[in-house]
């Protein structure tokens, strides 16, 4: 094996940092987009309007029952072909791995965030909605001003924990030849034949960031509890 050689890391640091920044960007966008999509899905599931609730439930269960890698492939390889057959174009539209990754993660995470948001909404005592209605708020005001702020606060720790999982899952986009942190490391590792160093480094970076974030979530958890 010839011992560790860290020089290739030092040289490729800017490239790796770009990869990390892509990973963080995709994580943040997917977490925010997924939360918003998840809120809509949760409201649909709790709406009491049967077709809407059913459609949302079917979507969520489907997404949660299929491996993420398969969903990524599905969106990347099959959706363009489907769009082609729908639009009748001569070639499949070029969506590209970047856009495909953003869309995939928002749609996939939305299903998980939906279940978190749903639990969060259900954790708010029923009387709160009654009180909101009683002073004259309509449904959307009651949700926006009374229920969701409390629910989001209650579920923030779980949302953030799910985001840490997402942060790690984002690495799967490396398989689409996207240069996220893992993708960057794969490229350098192959170019310089330094697989062990590169993969060790990436693992350490992931560990340090994920663990630090989870400690942060724990600390936050203690601070934000609503006094009841």
């Amino acid at each position: 094996m010839g011992g560790f050689d860290w020089s290739s890391i030092a040289n490729s640091l800017p490239f790796l940092m770009n990869g990390l920044s892509y990973t963080v960007q995709l994580t943040v966008v997917a977490a925010i987009g997924g939360t918003l999509w998840g809120i809509l899905l949760a409201l649909a599931r709790l709406s009491g309007i049967a077709p809407l609730a059913w459609a949302a439930a079917a979507y969520v269960n489907l997404m949660r029952s299929v491996p993420l890698l398969l969903v990524i492939f599905w969106f990347y390889f099959l959706v363009p072909v489907m769009l082609q057959s729908i639009t009748g174009a001569a070639y499949p539209p070029k969506i590209g791995p970047d856009r495909s990754a953003y869309v995939t993660f928002i749609l996939f995470e939305g299903a998980y965030f939906c279940e978190i948001v749903r639990a969060g909404i259900q954790s708010i005592p029923k009387g709160q909605l009654g009180a909101a209605y009683a002073i004259g708020l309509n449904y959307s005001q009651a949700m926006r001003l009374i229920i969701l702020p409390q629910a989001l606060r209650n579920m923030l720790p779980v949302l953030l924990t799910q985001t840490i999982v997402l942060f790690q899952d984002v690495s799967l986009v490396a398989l689409l030849n996207v240069t996220d942190l893992v993708g960057a490391a794969v490229k350098i590792a192959q170019r310089d034949s330094r697989l062990i160093e590169m993969y060790t480094l990436v693992a350490v970076v992931y560990f340090v960031l994920s663990y630090a974030l989870s400690l942060g979530v724990k600390a936050l958890n203690r601070r934000i509890a609503i006094i009841r």
Binding site: Y133, G136, L137
Partner: protein, 246 residues
């Protein structure tokens, strides 16, 4: 025309009938106490008045507006009728003052400063002006309920509904909440009050409605209800016997 007119209301949960042909009314400026054993449907009935609970038969007309008619703007109707809950239901993520301001701004379209003035006026009235920046969780039960009353009053309601306002309170806090309610009654507020506080019923209310098993069994003047016990139904006498023995 009564302020609140309840006309033959029946309600079912699936097969189970919780209200059977309930009819009564509250005139403008009148205080009506609704009492009865637990499970008799009195809380359900009062929640039907502002359509927090739907009902399947009959109608309730509030200030001339039917709560079950299709075209009725329910949020608007509710904003005109104050409601106080057993468990206060202040919004725990908002400060006391924000609790008082929220619906004034969002529903009535008042400016923030106008809403603040109104909020402080009623907060002062329930003796809690100094608590304006606290959160509900930092207040005692009695204080929370007084804030809840102030929150309802900020909307300039045409009537107030009280759903067991003192049932969740420690005994030493019941008095401070009743005192606010007595004050309101004296000023001529139209009130429908579900309560077990027979002292309040006897000294403040104009009429007493007694419910049992989802039916209105007695509906008479307070003097008659408490003064002429022999004329009451068997069920009402039992209830009074139990509750007045304490």
């Amino acid at each position: 025309m009564p302020m609140i007119d309840i006309r033959g209301v029946s309600k079912w949960y699936n097969e189970f009938q919780v209200l059977t042909d309930c009819s009564t009314h509250v005139e403008k400026g009148e205080v009506v106490v609704v009492c009865g054993p637990s499970g008799s449907g009195k809380s359900t009935l009062i929640k039907c008045v502002n359509a927090l609970e739907p009902f399947q038969k009959g109608d309730i007309v509030v200030d001339g507006i039917s709560v079950s008619a299709r075209g009725t703007d329910l949020p608007k109707l509710r904003s005109r009728v104050g409601m106080v809950f057993q468990h206060f239901e202040l919004f725990p993520h908002l400060s006391v003052l924000e609790n008082l301001r929220l619906a004034q701004v969002k529903v009535l379209g008042r400016s923030k400063s106008e809403a603040t003035d109104k909020g402080m006026h009623y907060l002062d009235r329930v003796g809690l002006a100094s608590q304006r920046d606290k959160f509900p969780g930092q207040l005692s039960g009695g204080q929370q309920q007084r804030v809840a009353i102030a929150r309802a009053l900020c909307m300039d309601p045409i009537a107030m509904l009280f759903d067991e306002p003192t049932s969740a309170l420690d005994p030493e806090m019941v008095g401070e909440v009743l005192e606010v309610m007595v004050g309101l009654a004296k000023e001529g507020m139209t009130m429908m009050v579900v309560t077990h506080e027979m002292g309040f019923a006897r000294s403040v209310s104009d009429r007493v409605v007694f419910m049992d098993a989802g039916r209105i069994v007695e509906d008479c003047a307070t003097k008659e209800f408490f003064g002429n016990i022999e004329a009451r139904s068997e069920r009402a006498r039992q209830f009074l016997g139990k509750i007045l023995a304490h």
